[in-house]
Each structure stands twice: as C-alpha cells, then as structure tokens.
C-alpha cells in the first residue's frame, strides 16, 4: 500500500496547487466528451440541413442526389424495429423474470449469467454472420425483414435481459414477502406486484435496447439488406433497407453531394433516437416521482 501522501508531503501549498491543476485536467477530460458531441452535431447540422426537405422523406433513393430520399429506408426501419420488439420483448422479459425470481444459485444458472454478459460484449458483426447462416440460409427466410428482425432480436436480447433484471432487482423483497404472506403463489406475486412495480424501469431499458437496434448497421449488411430499394416492405418476407444502411451507402460514395444526403439521413436517424431517449428519460422521471418505498 502506498502512503496516502505523495513525495511532496510537508509542502502544503505545492500539494494544493497540484490538486488544483489536476482538478482542471479532470474537468477538461470530461468537457472533451461534451465538446466532441457538440462538434459532431454542428458538423452534421451544417451539412445536412440544406438537404432536409419534405421530399427527402417521401422519395426513394436515386442516383441523382437532388431527387434522392429515404422513404424505403424509413419504412424498412419501422418494420424492422416493430418486428424486433415483437420477438425480443417477451423473450427478454421472460428470461429476466426467470433469472431474477425463479433461478437458484447453481452452476447452470451461473453459466447462463456469464454467458449473457459475454453475449452483450460480442461484436454485432458476429451476430450478422449467425443471422446469415441461421435465418437467411438454413431457415431459408431469404434477405427479408423477418430475418433481419430475428437477427436484431438475438443481438439486443442480452441488453434487454440485463436491463429488465436490474429493474426487477430494485423491487424490495418486503413487497414479495407481503404477497407470499397473504397466500399468493409465486406467479401471482410476480404478475400483480413485482411486475407493475418494476414496469417503468423495464420500459426504459427496452426502449434503450430498441434504440440500439435502430442504429445497428453491420449485422444488416451481413444478412444482405439491400442498399438500393425503390419500394416499401408490405410484409415480413419482403426485401428491405434501413436508415443506417442508406447512410452508409451514401457516405461511402466518392461524390460530395451524397455526403449532404448522408448528413440529412443522420439527422433523421438522430431525431428518432433522441425522441426514444427522451421518452425513456420521461418514463424514468415520472416513475421517480411516485416511488412508494
């Protein structure tokens, strides 16, 4: 153990000066993040605003920048996220309830926990390869919205489980014991007391997990979401494109005009994400107002 006072002990003014300097350095490090965010937003706004018109939202992609739009990508993203929510919410919630309310501590449940932590850290492109082999080829779903949504569901599953578990754990045990004391079964306790109490936290976690899925690009490229789509999906088996893919496509072109389109697409994407984040923060804020324990 090092001694708590440094080599300059005894010289208090010098140590105080050192402390003040380091205070400023730590503050600067923190502000660096804020400044970077500001620069990023300013950069995107500057390039994107001139391209952001109503027709941008209602046109299909085109090789002429003036006529290009994100209609197909926007609808593709809506389909993709809707289906992903449909698959991932029940499964994620079920797994969280099992692990938090039912599971005993044994080697198998420990294995599941370590495994979930590891899955949360697995690169998204690896999920893309899994989706390509499993859903696109083996289950023969083709390069459809359904295959994309299933891949995305697996990708955000660890995040939904971890977030839901944290909210369930925050519900005090006294609530469960009160229900048990009144003769409720385990499931009655969970359904009528634990879940309602944990719901705001769970919703927040689910929204944040889904907003991660909206921004993911690599797995969709892997399973072969198209970059040029001039129609909107009309069913789960249709081919599709999505906002981040369209942005990637435009940003990887050499012509300068397409950078502006990419920036405008980013503005739409960030707008969707910020709305979802705001909703999550609002739910968290509302639920903190009427906490009962």
């Amino acid at each position: 153990m090092t001694s708590p006072v440094g080599p300059s002990s005894g010289n208090l003014p010098a140590r105080r000066r050192m402390g003040a300097v380091l205070h400023v350095i730590f503050l600067a490090a923190t502000l660096a993040g804020v400044v970077l965010l500001a620069i990023l937003l300013a950069d995107v706004l500057e390039h994107g605003i001139p391209w952001l018109r109503w027709s941008f939202l209602t046109s299909f992609p085109s090789r002429f920048p003036q006529q290009a739009g994100i209609k197909a990508a926007l609808w593709g993203t809506i389909w993709l996220i809707g289906l992903t929510a449909l698959f991932s919410i029940p499964v994620g919630l079920g797994a969280a309830i099992y692990l938090e309310e039912y599971a005993r501590r044994n080697w198998f449940n420990t294995l599941i926990e370590i495994n979930i932590a590891n899955l949360a850290g697995t690169p998204s492109i690896v999920y893309g390869m899994l989706g390509l082999s499993l859903f696109v080829r083996w289950m023969a779903l083709g390069r459809s919205v359904l295959a994309g949504a299933l891949t995305m569901s697996l990708l955000i599953l660890p995040v939904t489980i971890i977030a839901s578990r944290e909210s369930l754990r925050a519900v005090p045990d006294s609530l469960r014991q009160a229900a048990f004391a009144l003769g409720a079964t385990r499931w009655q306790t969970i359904r009528a007391h634990v879940l309602p109490a944990a719901l705001p936290g769970i919703l927040t976690g689910l929204i944040l997990a889904l907003s991660r899925a909206i921004g993911e690009t690599a797995p969709l490229i892997m399973i072969g979401a198209l970059t040029y789509v001039a129609f909107t999906p009309s069913g789960p088996m249709d081919a599709f494109t999505a906002l981040p893919i369209q942005i990637f496509n435009w940003a990887s072109r050499p012509q300068r005009e397409f950078y502006g389109l990419a920036a405008a697409g980013i503005l739409v994407l960030l707008g969707v994400l910020l709305t979802m984040n705001a909703a999550a923060i609002w739910i968290r804020y509302r639920s903190q107002r009427n906490v009962r324990w």
Binding site: L22, F26, L36, V91, G121, L154, G215, I221, L269, L273
Partner: protein, 280 residues
C-alpha cells in the same frame, strides 16, 4: 421462462457452431499455420494468400490509437464525475455521455470521413484519404463514454469512510482521489479498460468507412489499412458466391474475432472477481 433464459445459451452455442463449421471447411483447404502467421492477405486475388496478420495488425493499430484517446479522457471523466462534480453537474454530464454512447457507429464513420480526416490532412499532409488514425480517433470517442461511466460506477462503489480517513490524515482531495479511491476501485477500472478494448476490436462501421480497404502490415497510422471487421463487410457487400474459399474466409476471420473478444470479456470478468476489494 426457463426456455427464454436458455435461448441465450443456445445463441452462444449456435454462434460457435456456425463459425466453427465454416472455419473447419476453410482450414481443410488452407493450413492453420499459414492463416495465423502469414503476412500477406490477398484472398480475392490470384494467387490467393491467406495470412491474417495484416488484418490483425490493422485492427491493433486502430485499437491502440483508440485506447490512447479513450483511456486518459475516460478515466479523467470518471474521476471527475465521481470525486469532483456536484450532484447537479453530474445530472447534466451523465445524460450527455449517455447520448454520446447512443450515437450509431455509422454516424461516427461519417464524422471520421468528413471531419477528422480533413483535420488530419491539414495537420499531417502525408495523410491518405483513408487512414487508420481517423478510424482510431472516432473509435476512441465511441468507447470513451463506456470507460467514463464504468469508472464512475467503480469509483463510487468505494465507501465514503475511506475518503474521510484520507482527509483525516491530511491528504488533499487530489491525493485522496489518486492514492485512496483509485487503488480501491482498481479492479473495476481495469475491467472497464478491457471491456472497452474488446468493444473497439469488434467495432465495424466507423473503421469500414474511415480506415480503408488495404490490408497491410504497417505501423504508420496515416496509411490506409483494413481491420478484420472491415474485411468481413467488404466481402459481404460484394457478390461472393456461397461456399467458395473467399466466402469461407469471413467465417475464419469472424471466428478469430469472436475468440479474441470473448477472451477479453472473460478476462474482464476474472479481473472483477479476482481483484475485487470487498468492503463491509
């Protein structure tokens, strides 16, 4: 509900099975040794060569650069948030970091191309249009909030009584932060670095857009390189027929990627368990 939890294990098993099966058929045609230690990666040209080292080197270049950006800034932010910031300031800064963490990676890729690279070209005229440094900077920015937030959590878990003991011995605030709190939270801080590096290795879109598509063994960050992830994207964007060797290479590279990140994740887990200081 048990089945839902089981699905996560099944997912891991399937990832390993899918990657292993295709990697196996790849290694039946290309020796393992020449894959792992070969220094030329030209699987799409004639004559093909399958040495993965240039891709690993490109990835390492980006990851080291990202760590140089993110570790000092992230640790500094973590210390500031936990030891210096008032509750009100924290309430503002934390959501900002969360927003920074929630920005999609393709946006960072765009940012690298249109902002960071022109800046680098002005500073170092030798910079190529696609270069490792630009990718490294934005990947660093991307993992910064993760390090800051995890360090903040770890530092705040150190009990207040230790800080008070430090002050009682006459230490200044800075000395308490660096000599008492930081050593006490070392396991969490180190684990956050390892997790962030694992994230940087798996990062795909930003490096695909910014770092180029030229696999080569170089230590010059201003040159165009290719990372493992960018190679996988490049192949899957083209029309490579399924079953051919070029198609199998992405699974071999993906397997390597998965093994490396899983190793790092488990390492972080071990650091947390092994060196965790237990406070009463």
């Amino acid at each position: 509900m048990f089945l839902c939890a089981l699905l996560s294990v099944v997912t891991t098993a399937e990832i390993i099975w899918v990657l292993a099966r295709e990697t196996w058929s790849f290694f039946r045609q290309v020796p393992v040794f020449s894959f792992l230690f070969g220094t030329r990666w030209t699987p799409l040209f004639q004559p093909p060569s399958f040495g993965v080292l240039p891709l690993v080197c490109g990835t390492a270049l980006v990851v080291v650069g990202a760590a140089l950006v993110a570790i000092p800034l992230g640790l500094g932010s973590g210390i500031f948030l936990s030891e210096y910031a008032s509750d009100r300031l924290r309430g503002i800064l934390k959501p900002v970091l969360e927003v920074l963490a929630g920005i999609p990676t393709v946006v960072y890729g765009y940012f690298a191309l249109t902002f960071v690279t022109p800046l680098l070209v002005r500073l170092f005229p030798a910079t190529q249009v696609f270069n490792a440094a630009s990718g490294a900077v934005v990947v660093g920015v991307m993992i910064l909030p993760m390090i800051a937030s995890l360090c903040d959590d770890a530092l705040r878990a150190v009990p207040q009584s230790l800080r008070h003991a430090g002050y009682a011995l006459g230490a200044t605030r800075f000395e308490v932060a660096t000599h008492v709190v930081l050593p006490g939270a070392l396991s969490g801080v180190l684990a956050s670095f390892v997790l962030a590096l694992s994230r940087a290795i798996g990062e795909t879109m930003a490096v695909t857009l910014a770092a180029g598509a030229t696999p080569k063994l170089t230590l010059n960050p201003l040159e165009s390189i290719q990372t493992m992830t960018a190679y996988i994207v490049q192949v899957s964007l083209g029309d490579t027929p399924a079953g051919g060797i070029p198609y199998l290479t992405i699974y071999a590279v993906g397997m390597l990627l998965f093994v490396i990140t899983m190793g790092l994740n488990l390492l972080a887990n071990r650091i947390l368990r092994r060196f965790h200081e237990v406070y009463e």
